[in-house]
Structure formats: C-alpha cells, structure tokens
C-alpha cells in the first residue's frame, strides 16, 4: 500500500502527526475524536485561505458521524475567523447498504436531514466534508440532494484522506457543468482497500467504530450536539 501526501500536507509535520494518530490502533475513541476535530481546524483554515469574503456563505454539509468532530472543527474555525458572511450546516443520516451483498451495488439513501436555510444574500460555497472518501457513494448522494435545491458556483470536496480514483468515481456521477465546480482538499491519498472495504491505511478502519459511535444503526440514532445547539438557536418563522 502506498500513501501519498498532497501539497497541503507534505511539508506539515503536525498534519502528518494527526493522520498517524488516526491509523494508530492504540488511539482511544476520545483521542480519535479530538484528532478529527483538530484536522477540522486545519481544513477550516485551508477553506478560509481559499474562499473567505464577506459576501460568501460557507455551506458545510456532513454526515451524522462527522458532525461533532471533523465538521465542528471546520465550522468553529470558519465562524470564529469572521471572514465569511455566514456559515451554515446541513447534516445527513444515510443508510448505507450493499444491495445483494455487492459493493458495486452500494446505495446510501437519506433517512433524515438537518438543513439550515440559506441567507439568500451571499454567494454560496458548498463544502462537502467527509472523514474519508473512498467509493464516493455517500458524497454523491448528499451532494446530489443539495444541488437539486441550491446552486453553488463552487463546490469543495473536503476529506483528510481520499482513496486514489475516488475523484474520478465521483465525477462520473455528475454532468460536466457540475463537475467543473469541484475543488478537492485532502491531505493524503491511499491506493488500497482491505477485504471489507476499509482504505489502507486510510483513517485506521471503520470511522463509526473508531469514533466510539458503534455500528451504522447505532450512529444513525444519534443526534449530534452541534445540530441540537444550532437548531435551538435558530429563529425561524414556522
């Protein structure tokens, strides 16, 4: 297996250290969560460097398992920087299934979605955040859902680690007018998977388990703290 660090990480020993903590079997879930949050801070800074502007709405979309850790790190940095007009969150609960037991027949329909309304006044940058992108099935599903309702001119696909070829898989699923808006931000690219589909070394196995969230069913019953907090502070006319 070969790991290649991207230009965003090749000279950064701190980020490499975080990635090594993820693949270390002895890293406890509590520390694994913290490392994800810290990687979120780093990725958030990267997004500030790329997209900041007072007329920019940074729209972060994540899955339930990443919401309180990786995505929260990005949101905290982006909001506290004051360099965006507004920062919004969408969170998805996907039910990932290999139909007929075939990995190539994988689907991830959406069971539940939390989606903050756009301000309607800013230029949107849609940021799809995922702890790892491999088959791109979940990313494709959630991105499709959002672009059917919004029209961001820039779409950032953000993950600490991606599998080699994941970009091409994702791009096959969309028309060229959408694909040309994609911009990728990853720290490392790996080129192998194990027998059960985990990228090697990837992020050290199944992210639900490493985060201490249990199985897919168990993580899908969870309401992230960041969703609870943001939802209760939103003033909407119902």
């Amino acid at each position: 297996m070969t790991r290649i660090y991207t230009a965003y990480a090749e000279n950064d020993e701190v980020i490499k250290g975080f990635l090594n903590q993820l693949i270390d079997d002895s890293t406890f879930p509590e520390d694994y969560r913290k490392v994800n949050n810290q990687l979120g801070h780093c990725l958030g800074q990267l997004l500030i460097n790329q997209y900041s502007g007072e007329n920019i709405e940074l729209y972060i979309a994540c899955t339930v398992e990443d919401a309180d850790f990786l995505a929260k790190g990005i949101i905290d940095v982006a909001e506290s920087s004051g360099k965006f007009g507004t920062v919004k969150l969408a969170c998805f609960w996907n039910e990932r299934v290999n139909l007929w037991g075939q990995p190539e027949m994988s689907v991830a329909p959406i069971k539940k979605r939390y989606r903050e309304p756009s301000s309607g006044e800013c230029d949107q940058v849609l940021v799809i955040v995922k702890s790892i992108i491999s088959s791109a099935c979940v990313v494709k599903t959630n991105l499709t859902n959002l672009i059917n309702e919004m029209n961001p001119q820039r779409i950032a696909i953000v993950a600490p680690v991606m599998l080699e070829g994941a970009e091409e898989k994702l791009e096959q699923e969309f028309e060229s007018t959408i694909v040309q808006r994609f911009e990728y931000y990853a720290y490392a690219k790996d080129d192998q998977k194990d027998d059960i589909g985990n990228v090697l070394p990837g992020i050290g196995g199944n992210v639900y388990e490493r985060l201490g969230l249990g199985s897919q069913d168990e993580k899908n019953k969870r309401i992230p703290d960041i969703v609870k907090r943001r939802r209760s502070s939103l003033n909407l006319v119902v």
Binding site: W93, E95, V97, L99, W100, Q102, M105, V107, A108, P109, I110, K111, K112, R113, Y114, R115, E116, P117, K140, T141, T144, N145, N148, Q172, E173, F174, E175, N220, K221, I223, R231, L234, L236, V237, V238
Partner: protein, 138 residues
Amino acid sequence: LNRLIRENDRFKTAISYLCAFDEDDKLEATTLALLGAWITSEKGVAISSLLNQARKNAPSFLRDEKGELNQKCVNILESIPDFNYWIEKGFLRWSYRNGLDSGVLSYGCSTPQFAKFQKILIRQNPCQYDDLEGVLLS
C-alpha cells in the same frame, strides 16, 4: 446510475412510478433493488415476483398502497408542535419547522418494522419533537 437519473427524464419518470418518493437517492435505491432482482431471477419471471424479490432488499422504497397509522399514533404525531407528517405511497414522511429537519422511514407502512415503530411511538408517547426525534430514527 446517479447521472442516468439526473439526465434521462424518461428513465426518471418510469422509475418514479414505482418508487414511493421522487428524490434521486430513493430512485437510485429502487432502481438498484429492481436491477438486482432482475439479474438474480430466472428468465420469464412474473413482474409480481420480481417486485416481491426487490422489496426484500431494504431499503427499496418501492411504492406500496397498503398500510396506515393507527389512531393513537395519529394523535401523538398531531400533538407535536411544528411537526408535520404524511403517508406518501405507503411510506411515512415527516418534516419539522418547515423542513429544518426532515426525513422518511425507510420501511413501508405495511411492514413488521412499521408495526414496531408504532409500538415504540405509543409506548414512549413523546410530547415534543426532541423526544420524538429518536423514535423516528429507531
């Protein structure tokens, strides 16, 4: 497949007749469930057998006209502030605070899982969305 659904209106319309929902993620799940059933079936299989086989692969989201909520569940759901729900082609769909939260149950209203959902709902008898949310994800 995602691209086929996005770009081919004829295909999308055809699969929409069979799927309970009109969203791309559900249409994709229905398509794959049908495709899998077709690939693994004998030649000359009856359409009804094909649909039954596809339904076994949850979540297929194949439309189903059967099944409804019992009155106790209706009373509970209608008492939750800012919460809306409806049965769409045999599946329960819901929305909270004008779509701030929204979702579906991935099993149809005629399934054993739905009966279990109703039992949990009645037992827990939530009065507000924060208490109901976990039941919707059960």
